[in-house]
Subunit: 292 residues, 2 copies
């Protein structure tokens, strides 16, 4: 029977460490996607900027060479793989849009190999060792949803996860799942003092996006130590009432395979009808920078 | 030395069970506020609709008799108490604004007894045994902050706590603390199956408001069984990175007294500068009901 809108589907979250060589990372991603598909995953999401080490740890104009067009070589490889395996692939890429114009972009490839579209990271951080404002122009594609063969999904990227506005805007497009490809980690010098609280806040705010919007949230983070950054993994899927359905370790490569049921979204929203009561007439000042 | 803007201040959260007699509840509130003040509390918040049992469990027009003007008798009593003790009082009241026009309103009384202003609950629930849409017109006062003697605060009420928009809008007014007077509990028949997840979601989403906005969150809930509803208490204060600083039990009357430091808000926001990067140019569709 063909897959219908209310049928369950199976997510695959690929948590890996990245090597210096982009081709090695792509080969690993292909292998991991095959493995996830063999475990029944139908929508597979890779971590943020999976083709390289987290280059934003320094401001270095030579590193723009890591960027590529989208569509481009990586999406070509992944489109062929998606078609072969019959899986949807969500891939986070360093997009070269034009000379001097780059984005942190997620490509959504359907199970027939079609590039359904892209999302460009809306909120760009700039913190010590996360110098993303140097590399990425803030996204200008809004918060689209993508109707894939197996389910309707939206993608947000890393720093977006701290913004309830982004989750809400994506959720209003009707996805069953919000994906968050991510590259977040500890500064090794502050891990002991602040590490547990940082990771906990990161999980908590994303679980809250699931709760506020009655959607599944799938966060896909990298692991491994890259110079002074220790990426904390902990990739997870939360159900539409915020419950953790599966979670990976902080330090190992792992692929989570998790079922996702659109009927559960229906059920949770019937019992917790938050969308019914949004006061859109009262939210105007949310478009302001500050209250004064 | 007079209290200055950057000085710490001490919150008091009064978690009680309510009796059928409104005067008995007021007497208890006065006693509990005195007790909190004796423990050094400077801003004391009562639970939602503390003057009565949770009457919204049924739709009964006779119960509009519980309402009163604001300012009115209860604020008069609490203003005198605030002045006597030198404490700020946040009191949730059933406001009669005009014949046939009622609100679920929080009054903020400064430490000199002045009524600084009111907030009217923006999001009104309607669920089995929480028939609030029958009683309350949705609030029309926006999301104000109040500059009290000890600190700048904002108040949201119960169902508002499920809306990230409300927390953000209140936070943009610059408060150090968001208070949530609340009356939330378990339906006894579903407590065993869903109770833990419901309470956990309630805590999680409010901690997320603290994280997203870099503010303290103080939730003040009632306890006790009223017919088929079992209010789950669990009043708590979260710090500006979402960490739980104190939490009350699910079934006992308790007053939490918790220090709150505006410098901690400054510190957290310097390290997690979420407010810097809000994409107000991209948030327009948040004023829409749905994405299509």
């Amino acid at each position: 029977m063909p897959h219908t809108k209310n049928d369950k589907f199976r997510l695959g979250l690929v948590q890996t460490a990245c090597a210096a060589d982009p081709n090695q990372n792509l080969a690993k991603a292909v292998w991991k996607i095959r493995e996830a598909a063999s475990r029944g995953a139908q929508i597979v999401c890779l971590e943020e900027l999976f083709r390289s080490e987290y280059f934003c740890r320094e401001e270095n104009a030579d590193l723009f060479a890591l960027a590529e067009p989208v569509p481009g070589p990586t999406t070509e490889t992944l489109r062929a793989l998606a078609r072969e395996l019959g899986v949807v692939i969500v891939a986070s890429l360093f997009e070269r849009r034009a000379a001097g114009l780059y984005h942190n972009t997620a490509a959504v490839i359907d199970a027939d190999g079609a590039l359904l579209g892209t999302y460009r990271k809306t909120h760009i951080p700039d913190d010590p060792c996360y110098y993303e404002k140097f590399y990425f122009t803030p996204g200008d594609l809004g918060f689209p949803s993508f109707e894939t063969r197996y389910g309707r999904i939206a993608v947000l990227v890393c720093w977006d996860q701290w913004y309830p506005e982004a989750a809400r805007l994506a959720a209003l497009g009707g996805p069953t799942v919000l994906f968050y490809p991510t590259a977040i980690g500890w500064h090794q010098h502050e891990k002991e003092q602040h590490g547990a609280a940082q990771r906990d806040a990161w999980i908590t705010i994303q679980r809250a996006h699931a709760i506020a919007n009655g959607v599944y949230v799938a966060a896909v983070n990298r692991v491994g130590v890259e110079r002074t950054l220790e990426f904390w993994g902990s990739s997870f899927v939360a159900g539409p009432f915020g419950e953790i359905l599966a979670q990976a370790s902080t330090d190992k490569e792992e692929t989570l395979v998790v079922d996702c049921d659109p009927r559960q979204v229906e059920e949770v929203r019937r019992n917790w009808p938050f969308l019914r009561d949004r006061r859109i007439d009262a939210y105007g000042p949310i478009l302001q920078r500050w209250g004064e």
